[in-house]
Amino acid sequence: MNARNKRLPEGGRIDRSHSIEFSFDGKGLAGYRGDTLASALLANGVTLVGRSFKYHRPRGILSAGPEEPNALVTLGTGGRREPNLPATMLELGDGMAAESQNRWPSLAFDVQSANGLFAPFLSAGFYYKTFMGPTRRSWKIYEHFIRRAAGLGRAGTEPDPDRYEVRHAFADVAIIGAGPAGLSAARAAAAAGARVVLIEQDFLLGGQLLAEQSDGVAASWLGQVEAELESFETVTLMKRTSAFGIYDGNVIGLIEQRNQDRPPYSGQARQIVTMLRARSVVFATGAIERPMVFPNNDLPGVMLASAARIYLNRFAVLPGRKVIVATTNDGAWRTAFDLAEAGAEVTISDRRTTIPPALAVEATRLGVAVRTATRILDLRGGHCVKRATLKGPDGRFEAACDLVCVSGGWSPTVHLASHLGVKPRYREDIGGFVPGAFPANQFGAGAMMGLHATADANEDGHRAGIEAASFCGKSAPVPAPSKLDLGETVTTPFREVPCAQGGKAFVDFQMDVTTKDIELAHREGYESIEHLKRYTTLGMGTDQGKTSNFPGLSAMAALRGATIPETGTTTFRPPFTPVAIGALAGRATGHHFKPFRRTPMHDWHLANGAEMLDVGLWMRPWFYRRSGADVNEAYVAEMRHVRQAAGLMDISTLGKIDVQGPDAATFLDRIYANGFAKLKVGRARYGVMLRDDGIVFDDGTTTRLAESRFFMTTSTARAADVLSRLEFLLDTAWPELRVSVSSVSDEWAAMSIAGPEARAILAAAFPSLDVSNEALPHMGSYEGEWRGRALRILRLSYSGERAYEIYVGATAGEQLWSCLLEAGGPLELKPYGIEALGALRVEKGHVAGPEIDGRTTLDDLGLGRMVGKRSGFVGDVLRRRPALLAHDRQRLVGLECMEDGKRLRGGSVLFRPGEKATGHGWGRVTSVTFSPERDRYIGLALLAGDLATEGSEVVAVYPMKAETVRARVVSPIFLDPQGERLRG
């Protein structure tokens, strides 16, 4: 056994038959199954594990749990690289390769630890003052420097190849924490008949019981209860699982570590997020020990007393041979006794003057030196603590040491219990915060309620388990709990006030916040605990201040001369422990980020060279590669073809709503701004809907199929909103109307033939159909069958050409599409995409999404004349508000580019010629296209004032590309203003 090996020859809950190879900063080391990375490092004599956030001070392992502020490591490489993992929570796995963080060039030799250079920049409030004050500009100089110097680990930038899952689960009783209280609660709730989920962040059950000797009474009690729990079919044990948040309705967010030690390509999820909905919750989250605050209290070799005991008894690691145990309470004495029994030379330095006699007797028996009314003034050492200066009743003295165990008391782990707004309340007798009044479906038990003795926690858990089960209506008789008494003494602890004389005394180890920072915050008026937090970054690290919260507020309370309750505590928010974004996303990444909606002709588009575009959830053909080399070339070619021959467009994405009932016409008359009651059966009409506030909501066409049956189409984007709105009005406003609406969007495949040859193609495709202008005029309709499927043809035009919308049962969509192309082949029917569709409608001056943008009125869009003198429709009254009728509002105009070879761009801001191009200008370009008709770029714009008269000249400025182009205001209808093309 070499000198650095601190593993004891026997004991502990490690499997000595299973040795594990791992590395730390490239150096090969060995541990055992059952180790954490932290315990294995300690066993190998590694005391220096990281550099601090701002000052690059050497840091060691402080704790043995999720509160660890110092021992943060990075695991993995490439896409699997994961930073800021507490070594105390990592179950040692074969081949684990851990790296320390925030050091350069190496952990042992860090050039930035000469931190005197940086210190003046890094005090509390530095960022505030730099950003807000007169020195604002200097930030530019220092930023790069400081960002490199201060920090934690770096995340990977490559995509993570591993799988993550999100699932939902349900329980009667969820119990968070499997220590003495949680185990008892689980046993009692299960015996009462409840379905129980027991959640434990560790890979072993037991909580603080694991700090007891692995062959004592605690261990046998633990073994017995564990076996009992496993015998219940209704109990689910979730180990390696942290509860990170409690949400409304008793939903608990759980993150489970899986396969940490498996080879990376096993294909199984690495982490699983479970949203567990429980009818009642028992918080048995225990307590976290507080460090003590004195100069150089952050040296490696300073460890929480409870953690030292865990390393000794659970992992068979003796972390030091010459130990000072500094404490304010009884608990740490047990650490001193166990260390002494394991062969260490131990001195206890207790702040209190009187000690329970039982402890003093035991100390004498084990040869532990006891110093009462004593505290540590300072520590010295390099990469590990070497000497301590203490002060007792007889004055100062020095002591050599290689381990300093500290206990500044215990903070009940109230974080989770506070997430839903239950305010913690301070208890003077235990010197800590406990949860306030719980709602009826939540219970607390054990140390988190301030019961630190195992026997009390055990009994309290039993009670909470019965109550939680009873809340769910499960009240079967429960056998009495098996007693477990470890004979701890519990007396009111001494309240330690941070000591700040001398060197840096750290309150928050992870964020490098010292007592001086708190003094500065106090001096500058940031006295409120919430201000203190933000000014100094106290508690804002990845550990969420689990060890620093209480010492911080205690220091502020002392400075203010206030009590702890007066000073208060910060608000606890999820997550309790860091959760990787990838785990929350689960499988919803990349292609699976959102669902895709495909039209019935989707496969045809792909097989025929369509470039697809995401439009909301839909995938639509953007353009066809056969039409041109790129989108700009293709859409112009497709446009030309539609105007000259004919094009076929997939319009299945339109919202389609079936409106039926005796009052259907009355209903449509109210929801559309223009009238529908007089629409003849078999005819279609363009309609515009307003919102209640008078702004345009959506447009589309509605066809009267029968006296009391209509077929409505909506824009693709607004389909869901329109349907929901119609249902809202029928359910809440006008329940007396006998109307039913239902979505038939997915029932129909829809396609549109547009162009001069459209009618001839229709005739060829449907030889038995009379397609003459008399039988099927503009705005006319036909209903029939095609190969046994429902067929609906509406003569409607969006492009400005003679056009027919053809609807067929969705499963026959691709068949009809191919059939039309075949029939239309001799007449040059070709498919076109939405880029060309958008361009065609701009040429025709039809408004769409960019113009109907939630800010425009009917008059703004030039649609006011549709309404006439009607009233009583949705939005009618508020559309008459003076501001919406003002004559200086921006209204729809057409723009024509005046400069050859230049283009208009959507989003350009419009100014007067010669005017300085700043601010919002007089309007903006909403839609643009190249117009084959005009042989130049044209656009639609919303433009205010006298500029909006035809013939005016404007300057369109596009600051993103520093482009300026002159344009002329023209009518928004660039093509066929009389509508001769679409009617004949």
């Binding site: 309705g249 839903l420 209640d692 929901s724 359910d731 329940p735 009233s871 009583g872 009254v877 508020l878």
Partner: protein
């Protein structure tokens, strides 16, 4: 993570619902010409700390609009009813 007891579909997660605003405001009759009435209906809200009547639609379920009574302080839902029948 609210959960509604839909009178048609039973207890369902709030992911299945769409919020529809304050249900305590009365919509004027469709042909009410009074701008003040419409202004109050569209814009004036109480924002109470306590019981709130609000509309929710079960969009991925029965598609019914519901009136839900929810305590804004703790999200406790005291009643859920069909909007059609609870309006009068």
């Amino acid at each position: 993570m609210l959960r509604f007891e839909c009178p048609c579909c039973g207890p369902r997660d709030h992911d299945e619902f769409r919020y529809g605003g304050d249900a305590s405001v009365r919509r004027p009759a469709h042909d009410d010409p009074d701008p003040e009435a419409w202004y109050a209906y569209v814009y004036i809200r109480k924002n109470p700390a306590g019981l709130h009547r609000e509309f929710w639609q079960h969009v991925t379920g029965c598609r019914q609009w519901l009136v839900v009574e929810r305590d804004t302080r703790n999200h406790v839902i005291s009643s859920v009813a069909f909007a059609r029948t609870s309006q009068a």
